[in-house]
Amino acid sequence: NAGVTQTPKFRILKIGQSMTLQCTQDMNHNYMYWYRQDPGMGLKLIYYSVGAGITDKGEVPNGYNVSRSTTEDFPLRLELAAPSQTSVYFCASTQDGRPQHFGDGTRLSIL
């Protein structure tokens, strides 16, 4: 099992560009999450999903969008990149209250 796979691992964007961060999991987990981690800080929840077709906002959703068309995939979309979105993004999944499995992260810089 690959677990939670995130792509790309690194990306540099220009202000105003758009991109999609990909996340896929092969554990058949219903719950999936997107977090961002700023330097020296804890993780903050951006969006989450409790199953295919269902998404909801987390603590810091502004500037992001998500979709969940399948159980496996939970992409995160940045429409108009801003310097404040420079961060490390983690995708995670879980089932039945077990510890969330985290991907390796996407390091995103916006210049």
Partner: protein
């Protein structure tokens, strides 16, 4: 709004000595988790604590939960260099999609 606070933010340890990290949270929760993060890496699950008085141990790490005080502790026994990392506690509410609210983390540096 659920808030989770950890202290200290930074802990410089001497090898062989014992230390404790504290995690306070503001409202009743269903589960409390401890994670470890090495620099530039992802998060690794250490413990999940479900009920009042729960205690979990793995090697030199022991975590406990007091739901009445809304406090969890992570105790490090006889610190060794390999334990250098950042430790996060996180609290989940089952009714809120099991989403996690993280503490700010405790950066641990174990010196010889």
């Amino acid at each position: 709004e659920l808030k989770v606070e950890q202290n200290p933010l930074f802990l410089s340890m001497q090898e062989g000595k014992n230390y404790t990290i504290y995690c306070n949270y503001s409202t009743t929760s269903d589960r409390l988790y401890w994670y470890r993060q090495d620099p530039g890496k992802s998060l690794e699950s250490l413990f999940v604590l479900l009920s009042n008085g729960a205690v979990k141990q793995e090697g030199r790490l022991m975590a406990s939960l007091d739901t009445k005080a809304r406090l969890s502790t992570l105790h490090i026994t006889a610190a060794v260099h390999d334990l250098s990392a950042t430790y996060f506690c996180a609290v989940a509410l089952k009714a809120a999609g099991n989403k996690l609210t993280f503490g700010g983390g405790t950066r641990v540096l174990v010196k010889p």
